[in-house]
Amino acid sequence: MEKPILRPWLAGLIALVVSLPAAAAGTPGTVTVKLPDETARFKPGPGVETAARNCTLCHSADYIYMQPPLSRAQWQGEVTKMRKVYGAPIEERDTDAIVGYLLSQNGKPE
């Protein structure tokens, strides 16, 4: 009595067939995506835990490594922007550690 469920290939085939008239009729249907796992990591360095804890909430680690090497003042400016402009809940006492970590990862010699 327990009939086998639709085989995946059959379900896929029907979905393709059925989605054509749906598209033609202008009903968009539901689209669901699953994004690949983040692969960029906060690399080891002084203050990595503080930085990862504070930065990860809003963005992936690649936001750090894709930047051009930045000076201390520039990284300080970025952290301040995250706090004051984007409202990141970064404790003031954590900012030095975060700036130090960012400099260790992608700092410009001064």
């Binding site: 009939k3 086998p4 469920i5 639709l6 995946p8 290939w9 379900a11 896929g12 029907i14 979905a15 393709l16 059925v18 989605s19 749906a22 598209a23 202008g26 009903t27 968009p28 249907g29 539901t30 689209v31 669901t32 995506v33 699953k34 994004l35 690949p36 796992d37 983040e38 692969t39 960029a40 909430l57 809003c58 963005h59 992936s60 690649d62 936001y63 490594y65 894709m66 930047q67 051009p68 090497p69 930045l70 520039q74 970025e78 402009v85 984007y86 409202g87 990141a88 809940p89 992608n106």
Partner: protein, 415 residues
């Protein structure tokens, strides 16, 4: 019986009609909605400091250049632009501002709220747009304000794009003006502002909201698009609808558009008043470190052109004529001509323009090139639009890294 079992696996919370179930089953069964992990670790090196980028395959996308994972930003490899005037949906660049973007959208339940200073607030479904408004199409380039930011010198912080944060598509939808007229804009309206279904993950982060002056919003070509190159928009490009503002930078092309609000003032939210602004002068440029420069919201695209058939550093075969191909575009006046040079701009010849897809679209061009053995060449191109605007020979600089349109050079050697 069978249906329920599969449906539960696919979508536990769904009451689910047959079509819904089938779509869900289809997604599980391998429609291209699952991105492959980037674990394969293929990578490219963009020509800038820290230019290493992974290649990654995201849902509804082919393998693209991964700039950032969250919010996701994907860049189109330049070779894609050599395959035609229209950028395929699965190769189109992706740029989100806020990590709280929906990963599932029920396009049938989706509504666009039209409100603010209007006589009759509306809630429009996609079916409403398709059935109750005139459908219009426009071919238009969508280009990130910061496309090519990684080539600024001195470098500036931000999304470090190469040249691939741009694409051209045939957009189909309804005129924003028709929507505004249906709602009836009340006296005193100054701007129309647009919000999408994406949200910040921290409540204090400014929601991504953009605004256009009423006269811009009412232009013929500004549309709310439900189709892109004849298909639904990929989710990462704003499914089920996005604003399309031909000739203007992509920052205004709000994705997953779910709110259109007429307001009686210039919008003063962060993304208009503070971000996406350019120096208020003819070149939208300034000196590094210069203070007190007045700014305005970024707006119209500058003129650009690229060689697409040859990459920098390519080796070409000597002794037989070859054709160099490329694209050009501008902010809505149309390309008048493209000049090509094989000696770094010493001498120029006029390229042959390809089919005209309209004044907002990519314009393909081609030019003959006869390389001689043992020689190196600096190939360059220069586009001029129909009001005489051209590209810069000296790159502009501004602190946000916007509007690059310098004449680009590709170096090749012949053997």
């Amino acid at each position: 019986m069978t249906r329920e079992k599969t449906s539960q696996q696919a979508e536990p919370s769904s009451a689910g009609g047959r079509r819904r179930f089938l779509q869900a089953a289809g997604a599980l069964g391998g429609l291209a909605l699952l991105g492959r992990s980037a674990a394969a670790e293929k990578s490219v090196e963009l020509p800038m400091a820290n230019g290493g980028r992974q290649l990654a395959t995201y849902p509804q996308k082919r393998e693209l250049i991964l700039m950032t994972a969250r919010p996701v930003q994907l860049e189109t490899p330049m070779e894609v632009f050599n395959t035609g005037a229209f950028t395929p949906n699965d190769a189109f660049f992706v740029r989100w501002h806020l990590s709280g973007m929906p990963l599932s959208i029920d396009g049938d339940a989706f509504r666009i709220k039209v409100g603010g200073l209007v006589r009759q607030p509306l809630e429009l479904s996609i079916a409403d747009l398709r059935n109750n408004f005139e459908a219009v199409e426009v071919a238009a380039v969508c280009q990130c304000s910061g496309n090519s930011r990684g080539f600024f010198n001195p470098r500036v912080a931000g999304g470090e794009w190469g040249n691939g944060a741009m694409g051209n598509a045939l957009w189909r939808g309804v005129r924003l003006r028709d929507i505004l007229d249906k709602a009836g804009v009340s006296p005193g309206a100054v701007q129309v502002r647009f919000n999408g279904a994406d949200n910040p993950v921290v409540p204090a982060t400014p929601d991504f909201i953009k605004a256009l002056d009423l006269d811009v919003a009412r232009r013929d070509e500004v549309i709310v698009a439900y189709a892109m190159n004849g298909e639904a928009l990929p989710l990462l490009n704003g499914f089920p609808v996005r604003l399309v503002v031909p000739g203007w930078y992509a920052t205004y092309w709000v994705k997953m558009l779910d709110s259109i609000e007429v307001i009686d003032r210039e919008d003063d939210n962060f993304w208009m008043k503070t971000a996406y602004r350019i120096p208020k002068n003819d070149c939208a440029c300034m000196q590094p470190g210069e203070q007190g420069v007045k700014t305005v919201p970024i707006n119209r695209l500058t003129v650009r052109s690229f060689i697409t058939s040859l990459a920098d550093g390519a080796r070409v075969r000597a002794g037989r004529p070859l054709e160099v191909k490329g694209i050009a575009f501008d902010g809505g006046y149309g390309i008048a001509r493209v000049l090509f040079s094989s000696d770094g701009g010493g001498t120029w010849s006029q390229a042959e323009l390809g089919k005209d897809h309209g004044k907002y679209a990519f314009r393909e061009w081609r030019a003959p090139f006869a390389p001689k053995a043992g020689r190196s060449y600096r190939l360059t191109c220069l586009a001029v639009n129909n009001i005489g605007e051209s590209q810069r020979f000296e790159p502009r600089w501004n602190p946000a890294g916007y509007m690059r349109n310098v004449v680009e050079t590709v170096r090749v050697t012949a053997a």
